[in-house]
Symmetry: C2
Subunit: 184 residues, 2 copies
DNA sequence: GGTTCCATGTAATTAGTTACATGATTAT
DNA sequence: ATAATCATGTAACTAATTACATGGAACC
Protein backbone atom coordinates (compact mmCIF):
# COMPACT_ATOMS: atom_id res chain seq x y z
CA UNK A 1 0.00 0.00 0.00
CA UNK A 2 3.06 2.20 0.61
CA UNK A 3 1.30 4.81 2.73
CA UNK A 4 4.62 6.30 3.85
CA UNK A 5 5.43 7.06 0.22
CA UNK A 6 2.29 9.20 -0.07
CA UNK A 7 2.71 10.74 3.37
CA UNK A 8 6.17 11.98 2.31
CA UNK A 9 4.93 13.15 -1.09
CA UNK A 10 2.13 15.06 0.64
CA UNK A 11 4.50 16.79 3.02
CA UNK A 12 6.90 17.69 0.19
CA UNK A 13 3.98 19.02 -1.81
CA UNK A 14 3.41 21.67 0.88
CA UNK A 15 7.04 22.78 0.90
CA UNK A 16 10.51 21.34 0.37
CA UNK A 17 11.89 19.40 3.33
CA UNK A 18 14.95 17.56 4.56
CA UNK A 19 14.56 14.05 5.92
CA UNK A 20 14.91 15.55 9.36
CA UNK A 21 12.07 18.03 8.67
CA UNK A 22 9.79 15.14 7.68
CA UNK A 23 10.72 13.28 10.85
CA UNK A 24 9.90 16.42 12.87
CA UNK A 25 6.52 16.92 11.22
CA UNK A 26 5.51 13.37 12.17
CA UNK A 27 5.95 14.49 15.78
CA UNK A 28 3.41 17.29 15.32
CA UNK A 29 -0.33 17.24 14.45
CA UNK A 30 -0.20 14.85 11.51
CA UNK A 31 1.56 12.41 13.82
CA UNK A 32 -1.86 11.79 15.39
CA UNK A 33 -2.76 9.89 12.21
CA UNK A 34 0.49 8.85 10.57
CA UNK A 35 4.15 8.73 11.52
CA UNK A 36 7.43 6.96 10.85
CA UNK A 37 10.90 6.85 12.36
CA UNK A 38 13.87 8.42 10.61
CA UNK A 39 15.23 4.92 9.97
CA UNK A 40 12.23 4.29 7.72
CA UNK A 41 12.12 7.77 6.19
CA UNK A 42 15.67 7.99 4.84
CA UNK A 43 15.49 4.75 2.82
CA UNK A 44 12.02 5.70 1.53
CA UNK A 45 13.36 9.07 0.32
CA UNK A 46 16.13 7.26 -1.53
CA UNK A 47 13.53 5.03 -3.17
CA UNK A 48 11.42 8.02 -4.19
CA UNK A 49 14.47 9.61 -5.82
CA UNK A 50 15.05 6.38 -7.80
CA UNK A 51 11.43 6.49 -8.90
CA UNK A 52 11.82 10.15 -9.91
CA UNK A 53 8.91 11.23 -7.72
CA UNK A 54 11.19 13.54 -5.73
CA UNK A 55 14.50 15.34 -6.31
CA UNK A 56 17.04 16.73 -3.91
CA UNK A 57 19.80 19.26 -3.66
CA UNK A 58 22.49 19.39 -1.02
CA UNK A 59 22.98 22.53 1.04
CA UNK A 60 25.60 23.35 3.67
CA UNK A 61 24.33 24.36 7.07
CA UNK A 62 26.97 26.48 8.90
CA UNK A 63 30.57 25.31 8.24
CA UNK A 64 30.24 21.83 6.80
CA UNK A 65 27.00 20.12 7.90
CA UNK A 66 25.42 18.72 4.76
CA UNK A 67 21.70 18.53 4.45
CA UNK A 68 19.55 17.27 1.61
CA UNK A 69 16.56 19.34 0.61
CA UNK A 70 13.93 17.27 -1.19
CA UNK A 71 11.32 18.63 -3.59
CA UNK A 72 8.43 16.83 -5.27
CA UNK A 73 8.46 16.35 -9.06
CA UNK A 74 5.40 16.83 -11.26
CA UNK A 75 5.12 13.03 -11.60
CA UNK A 76 5.24 12.88 -7.81
CA UNK A 77 2.42 15.40 -7.63
CA UNK A 78 0.40 13.41 -10.13
CA UNK A 79 0.78 10.19 -8.13
CA UNK A 80 0.00 12.01 -4.89
CA UNK A 81 -3.24 13.46 -6.24
CA UNK A 82 -4.24 10.10 -7.67
CA UNK A 83 -3.76 8.46 -4.27
CA UNK A 84 -5.44 11.21 -2.24
CA UNK A 85 -8.54 11.33 -4.40
CA UNK A 86 -9.05 7.55 -4.56
CA UNK A 87 -11.69 6.29 -2.16
CA UNK A 88 -10.63 3.21 -0.17
CA UNK A 89 -12.58 0.66 1.90
CA UNK A 90 -12.55 1.13 5.66
CA UNK A 91 -9.91 -0.86 7.55
CA UNK A 92 -11.45 -3.92 9.21
CA UNK A 93 -9.32 -3.35 12.30
CA UNK A 94 -8.17 -0.16 14.01
CA UNK A 95 -5.69 -1.54 16.49
CA UNK A 96 -6.03 -0.50 20.12
CA UNK A 97 -4.22 -2.59 22.73
CA UNK A 98 -6.08 -0.98 25.63
CA UNK A 99 -9.38 -2.18 24.18
CA UNK A 100 -7.87 -5.61 23.57
CA UNK A 101 -7.10 -5.70 27.29
CA UNK A 102 -10.66 -4.63 28.02
CA UNK A 103 -11.89 -7.71 26.17
CA UNK A 104 -10.08 -9.82 28.76
CA UNK A 105 -10.59 -7.59 31.80
CA UNK A 106 -13.13 -9.83 33.55
CA UNK A 107 -10.35 -12.26 34.49
CA UNK A 108 -8.46 -9.67 36.50
CA UNK A 109 -9.10 -8.89 40.18
CA UNK A 110 -11.53 -5.98 40.29
CA UNK A 111 -9.07 -3.61 42.01
CA UNK A 112 -6.44 -4.13 39.31
CA UNK A 113 -9.06 -3.65 36.62
CA UNK A 114 -10.15 -0.40 38.29
CA UNK A 115 -6.58 0.90 38.43
CA UNK A 116 -5.95 0.07 34.77
CA UNK A 117 -9.18 1.77 33.71
CA UNK A 118 -8.57 4.81 35.92
CA UNK A 119 -5.07 5.17 34.56
CA UNK A 120 -6.31 5.12 30.99
CA UNK A 121 -8.82 7.83 31.88
CA UNK A 122 -6.05 9.92 33.42
CA UNK A 123 -3.83 9.53 30.32
CA UNK A 124 -6.64 10.25 27.88
CA UNK A 125 -7.78 13.34 29.80
CA UNK A 126 -4.22 14.64 29.75
CA UNK A 127 -3.97 14.12 26.02
CA UNK A 128 -7.35 15.75 25.46
CA UNK A 129 -6.25 18.83 27.42
CA UNK A 130 -3.10 19.06 25.30
CA UNK A 131 -5.10 18.90 22.07
CA UNK A 132 -7.54 21.53 23.35
CA UNK A 133 -4.63 23.88 23.99
CA UNK A 134 -3.26 23.29 20.51
CA UNK A 135 -6.70 24.01 19.11
CA UNK A 136 -6.84 27.35 20.98
CA UNK A 137 -3.49 28.20 19.40
CA UNK A 138 -4.69 27.29 15.92
CA UNK A 139 -7.81 29.43 16.24
CA UNK A 140 -5.60 32.49 16.69
CA UNK A 141 -3.68 31.87 13.45
CA UNK A 142 -7.09 31.80 11.81
CA UNK A 143 -7.58 35.47 12.66
CA UNK A 144 -11.12 36.60 13.37
CA UNK A 145 -12.84 34.48 15.98
CA UNK A 146 -15.76 32.55 14.53
CA UNK A 147 -14.55 33.08 10.97
CA UNK A 148 -15.67 30.13 8.87
CA UNK A 149 -13.15 27.58 7.66
CA UNK A 150 -13.36 27.37 3.89
CA UNK A 151 -11.97 24.89 1.40
CA UNK A 152 -9.48 27.51 0.19
CA UNK A 153 -8.04 28.17 3.66
CA UNK A 154 -4.35 27.23 3.59
CA UNK A 155 -4.64 25.84 7.14
CA UNK A 156 -7.52 23.51 6.23
CA UNK A 157 -5.48 20.31 6.60
CA UNK A 158 -4.11 21.38 9.94
CA UNK A 159 -7.61 22.35 11.12
CA UNK A 160 -9.14 19.04 10.02
CA UNK A 161 -6.57 16.81 11.70
CA UNK A 162 -6.69 18.79 14.93
CA UNK A 163 -10.47 18.81 15.19
CA UNK A 164 -10.58 15.11 14.33
CA UNK A 165 -7.94 14.19 16.91
CA UNK A 166 -9.87 16.27 19.43
CA UNK A 167 -13.13 14.48 18.56
CA UNK A 168 -11.41 11.11 18.85
CA UNK A 169 -9.99 11.86 22.30
CA UNK A 170 -13.19 13.46 23.54
CA UNK A 171 -15.10 10.35 22.48
CA UNK A 172 -12.53 8.15 24.22
CA UNK A 173 -12.78 10.13 27.47
CA UNK A 174 -16.59 10.15 27.29
CA UNK A 175 -16.71 6.38 26.83
CA UNK A 176 -14.29 5.82 29.73
CA UNK A 177 -16.32 8.11 32.01
CA UNK A 178 -19.54 6.34 31.05
CA UNK A 179 -18.13 2.94 32.00
CA UNK A 180 -15.82 3.69 34.93
CA UNK A 181 -18.58 2.87 37.44
CA UNK A 182 -18.45 -0.81 36.39
CA UNK A 183 -15.16 -1.09 38.28
CA UNK A 184 -16.29 0.96 41.30
CA UNK B 1 5.75 -5.96 22.25
CA UNK B 2 4.23 -9.23 20.96
CA UNK B 3 0.61 -8.14 21.22
CA UNK B 4 -0.54 -11.11 19.13
CA UNK B 5 0.92 -13.42 21.75
CA UNK B 6 -1.31 -11.88 24.43
CA UNK B 7 -4.33 -11.66 22.14
CA UNK B 8 -4.07 -15.42 21.57
CA UNK B 9 -3.49 -16.17 25.26
CA UNK B 10 -6.54 -14.04 26.11
CA UNK B 11 -8.74 -15.90 23.66
CA UNK B 12 -7.50 -19.29 24.89
CA UNK B 13 -8.12 -18.19 28.46
CA UNK B 14 -11.84 -17.91 27.66
CA UNK B 15 -12.03 -21.39 26.14
CA UNK B 16 -9.86 -23.79 24.19
CA UNK B 17 -9.58 -23.02 20.48
CA UNK B 18 -8.10 -24.30 17.26
CA UNK B 19 -6.01 -21.93 15.13
CA UNK B 20 -9.00 -21.66 12.87
CA UNK B 21 -11.24 -20.63 15.79
CA UNK B 22 -8.82 -17.85 16.70
CA UNK B 23 -8.78 -16.66 13.10
CA UNK B 24 -12.60 -16.63 13.13
CA UNK B 25 -12.81 -14.65 16.37
CA UNK B 26 -10.61 -11.94 14.87
CA UNK B 27 -13.35 -11.47 12.28
CA UNK B 28 -15.92 -10.75 15.01
CA UNK B 29 -16.17 -7.98 17.63
CA UNK B 30 -12.62 -8.11 18.93
CA UNK B 31 -11.48 -7.65 15.34
CA UNK B 32 -12.48 -4.00 15.73
CA UNK B 33 -9.42 -3.58 17.97
CA UNK B 34 -7.05 -6.40 17.10
CA UNK B 35 -6.72 -9.03 14.40
CA UNK B 36 -4.25 -11.20 12.52
CA UNK B 37 -4.25 -13.48 9.48
CA UNK B 38 -4.01 -17.26 9.83
CA UNK B 39 -0.51 -17.09 8.33
CA UNK B 40 0.60 -15.15 11.39
CA UNK B 41 -1.49 -17.11 13.90
CA UNK B 42 -0.23 -20.63 13.15
CA UNK B 43 3.47 -19.79 13.60
CA UNK B 44 2.67 -17.81 16.77
CA UNK B 45 0.82 -20.81 18.22
CA UNK B 46 3.84 -22.99 17.51
CA UNK B 47 6.04 -20.47 19.32
CA UNK B 48 3.68 -20.39 22.31
CA UNK B 49 3.86 -24.19 22.54
CA UNK B 50 7.69 -23.98 22.55
CA UNK B 51 7.45 -21.42 25.35
CA UNK B 52 5.06 -23.71 27.25
CA UNK B 53 2.43 -21.00 27.53
CA UNK B 54 -0.08 -23.16 25.64
CA UNK B 55 -0.58 -26.88 25.00
CA UNK B 56 -2.49 -28.74 22.33
CA UNK B 57 -4.14 -32.03 21.60
CA UNK B 58 -5.12 -33.34 18.21
CA UNK B 59 -8.70 -34.37 17.53
CA UNK B 60 -10.23 -35.93 14.43
CA UNK B 61 -13.14 -34.09 12.86
CA UNK B 62 -15.31 -36.55 10.87
CA UNK B 63 -13.28 -39.24 9.06
CA UNK B 64 -9.72 -37.95 9.01
CA UNK B 65 -9.55 -34.15 9.28
CA UNK B 66 -7.04 -33.38 12.00
CA UNK B 67 -7.47 -30.35 14.13
CA UNK B 68 -5.36 -29.03 16.97
CA UNK B 69 -7.14 -27.82 20.08
CA UNK B 70 -5.01 -25.41 22.08
CA UNK B 71 -5.38 -24.71 25.79
CA UNK B 72 -3.58 -22.16 27.95
CA UNK B 73 -1.16 -23.35 30.66
CA UNK B 74 -0.99 -21.83 34.14
CA UNK B 75 2.25 -20.08 33.16
CA UNK B 76 0.39 -18.73 30.13
CA UNK B 77 -2.34 -17.43 32.42
CA UNK B 78 0.21 -15.81 34.68
CA UNK B 79 1.87 -13.99 31.75
CA UNK B 80 -1.51 -12.98 30.36
CA UNK B 81 -2.63 -11.41 33.64
CA UNK B 82 0.68 -9.65 34.03
CA UNK B 83 0.32 -8.09 30.58
CA UNK B 84 -3.36 -7.18 30.91
CA UNK B 85 -2.94 -5.46 34.26
CA UNK B 86 0.15 -3.45 33.27
CA UNK B 87 -0.63 0.14 32.38
CA UNK B 88 1.06 1.33 29.18
CA UNK B 89 1.65 4.82 27.71
CA UNK B 90 -0.74 5.95 24.97
CA UNK B 91 0.42 5.32 21.42
CA UNK B 92 1.75 8.53 19.84
CA UNK B 93 0.07 7.64 16.56
CA UNK B 94 -3.23 5.93 15.80
CA UNK B 95 -2.90 5.39 12.08
CA UNK B 96 -5.75 6.55 9.85
CA UNK B 97 -5.06 6.92 6.14
CA UNK B 98 -8.29 8.80 5.50
CA UNK B 99 -7.21 11.52 7.94
CA UNK B 100 -3.75 11.55 6.35
CA UNK B 101 -5.50 12.31 3.06
CA UNK B 102 -7.48 15.05 4.77
CA UNK B 103 -4.22 16.73 5.74
CA UNK B 104 -3.48 17.10 2.02
CA UNK B 105 -7.03 17.67 0.78
CA UNK B 106 -6.63 21.37 -0.01
CA UNK B 107 -4.57 20.48 -3.09
CA UNK B 108 -7.39 18.53 -4.69
CA UNK B 109 -10.12 20.05 -6.91
CA UNK B 110 -13.07 20.83 -4.64
CA UNK B 111 -15.42 18.38 -6.41
CA UNK B 112 -13.03 15.47 -5.93
CA UNK B 113 -12.54 16.43 -2.29
CA UNK B 114 -16.31 16.52 -1.82
CA UNK B 115 -16.72 13.06 -3.34
CA UNK B 116 -13.97 11.57 -1.18
CA UNK B 117 -15.46 13.09 1.96
CA UNK B 118 -19.01 12.08 1.05
CA UNK B 119 -17.87 8.54 0.35
CA UNK B 120 -16.20 8.27 3.74
CA UNK B 121 -19.40 9.49 5.36
CA UNK B 122 -21.36 6.83 3.47
CA UNK B 123 -18.96 4.06 4.52
CA UNK B 124 -18.82 5.17 8.16
CA UNK B 125 -22.63 5.45 8.41
CA UNK B 126 -22.92 1.94 7.02
CA UNK B 127 -20.46 0.59 9.56
CA UNK B 128 -22.21 2.46 12.38
CA UNK B 129 -25.54 0.93 11.40
CA UNK B 130 -23.98 -2.54 11.43
CA UNK B 131 -22.54 -1.99 14.90
CA UNK B 132 -25.87 -0.67 16.18
CA UNK B 133 -27.55 -3.87 15.01
CA UNK B 134 -24.93 -6.02 16.72
CA UNK B 135 -25.49 -4.00 19.88
CA UNK B 136 -29.25 -4.67 19.75
CA UNK B 137 -28.40 -8.37 19.48
CA UNK B 138 -26.06 -8.24 22.45
CA UNK B 139 -28.63 -6.49 24.63
CA UNK B 140 -30.91 -9.51 24.23
CA UNK B 141 -28.30 -11.99 25.44
CA UNK B 142 -28.05 -9.75 28.52
CA UNK B 143 -31.60 -10.66 29.46
CA UNK B 144 -33.62 -7.99 31.22
CA UNK B 145 -33.65 -4.69 29.35
CA UNK B 146 -31.90 -1.95 31.30
CA UNK B 147 -30.18 -4.47 33.57
CA UNK B 148 -26.88 -3.01 34.70
CA UNK B 149 -23.65 -4.41 33.37
CA UNK B 150 -21.51 -5.51 36.28
CA UNK B 151 -17.86 -6.48 36.55
CA UNK B 152 -18.86 -10.10 37.12
CA UNK B 153 -20.97 -10.32 33.95
CA UNK B 154 -19.40 -12.97 31.70
CA UNK B 155 -20.21 -10.84 28.64
CA UNK B 156 -18.39 -7.78 30.01
CA UNK B 157 -15.54 -7.93 27.47
CA UNK B 158 -17.93 -8.31 24.59
CA UNK B 159 -20.05 -5.44 25.89
CA UNK B 160 -17.06 -3.12 26.35
CA UNK B 161 -15.60 -3.65 22.87
CA UNK B 162 -18.97 -3.25 21.19
CA UNK B 163 -19.90 -0.05 22.99
CA UNK B 164 -16.43 1.36 22.38
CA UNK B 165 -16.50 0.51 18.67
CA UNK B 166 -19.93 2.11 18.52
CA UNK B 167 -18.67 5.26 20.26
CA UNK B 168 -15.69 5.43 17.90
CA UNK B 169 -17.85 5.17 14.79
CA UNK B 170 -20.48 7.57 16.12
CA UNK B 171 -17.77 10.12 16.80
CA UNK B 172 -16.35 9.60 13.31
CA UNK B 173 -19.75 10.12 11.68
CA UNK B 174 -20.45 13.18 13.84
CA UNK B 175 -17.14 14.77 12.89
CA UNK B 176 -17.72 14.08 9.19
CA UNK B 177 -21.23 15.57 9.36
CA UNK B 178 -19.93 18.65 11.15
CA UNK B 179 -17.35 19.32 8.45
CA UNK B 180 -19.04 18.17 5.25
CA UNK B 181 -20.27 21.70 4.50
CA UNK B 182 -16.66 22.83 3.90
CA UNK B 183 -16.76 20.93 0.60
CA UNK B 184 -20.26 22.07 -0.39
C1' DG C 1 32.37 22.60 28.57
C1' DG C 2 28.03 20.36 28.32
C1' DT C 3 23.44 19.62 26.72
C1' DT C 4 20.05 19.79 23.29
C1' DC C 5 19.03 19.81 18.79
C1' DC C 6 20.13 19.21 13.83
C1' DA C 7 21.39 15.90 10.48
C1' DT C 8 21.99 11.27 8.03
C1' DG C 9 22.63 6.90 7.49
C1' DT C 10 22.73 1.26 8.12
C1' DA C 11 21.85 -3.34 10.49
C1' DA C 12 19.17 -6.46 12.84
C1' DT C 13 14.95 -7.80 14.25
C1' DT C 14 10.00 -8.09 14.64
C1' DA C 15 5.36 -7.66 12.76
C1' DG C 16 2.22 -8.16 9.27
C1' DT C 17 0.32 -9.14 4.45
C1' DT C 18 -0.16 -11.63 0.20
C1' DA C 19 0.54 -15.57 -2.20
C1' DC C 20 1.29 -20.45 -2.57
C1' DA C 21 -0.30 -25.09 -1.35
C1' DT C 22 -3.34 -28.78 0.14
C1' DG C 23 -7.22 -31.32 1.56
C1' DA C 24 -11.70 -32.62 4.38
C1' DT C 25 -16.50 -31.56 5.77
C1' DT C 26 -21.00 -29.68 5.45
C1' DA C 27 -24.90 -27.64 3.43
C1' DT C 28 -27.64 -26.90 -0.79
C1' DA D 1 -22.09 -32.11 -7.83
C1' DT D 2 -20.56 -27.91 -6.22
C1' DA D 3 -20.00 -24.24 -3.29
C1' DA D 4 -19.00 -22.60 1.22
C1' DT D 5 -16.72 -23.45 5.13
C1' DC D 6 -13.41 -25.90 8.08
C1' DA D 7 -8.63 -26.80 8.72
C1' DT D 8 -3.39 -26.17 8.59
C1' DG D 9 0.60 -24.96 7.05
C1' DT D 10 4.93 -22.39 4.41
C1' DA D 11 7.25 -18.82 1.37
C1' DA D 12 8.02 -14.39 -0.17
C1' DC D 13 7.58 -9.92 0.58
C1' DT D 14 6.54 -5.42 2.74
C1' DA D 15 6.29 -2.47 6.78
C1' DA D 16 7.96 -0.91 11.00
C1' DT D 17 10.81 -0.71 15.25
C1' DT D 18 15.03 -0.83 17.86
C1' DA D 19 19.67 -0.56 17.96
C1' DC D 20 24.06 0.78 16.08
C1' DA D 21 26.90 4.58 14.38
C1' DT D 22 28.59 9.22 13.50
C1' DG D 23 29.24 14.06 13.65
C1' DG D 24 28.05 19.29 13.32
C1' DA D 25 25.49 23.50 15.18
C1' DA D 26 23.30 26.26 18.58
C1' DC D 27 22.47 27.59 23.09
C1' DC D 28 23.55 28.43 27.95
Amino acid sequence: MRVLKYAILGLLNRHECSGYDITSQFKEEIGQFWSAKHSQIYPELKKLVDEELVQFRTVIQGEKLEKKIYTITSEGQRELMEWVSASAPLPETEKDTFMLKMYFIGNLPKEEARELFADQLRLRRHKLKDLQQRYEGLKQTFGAEGAEVTFANPHLGHYLVLTKALAREQSYVDWLEEHVQIFG
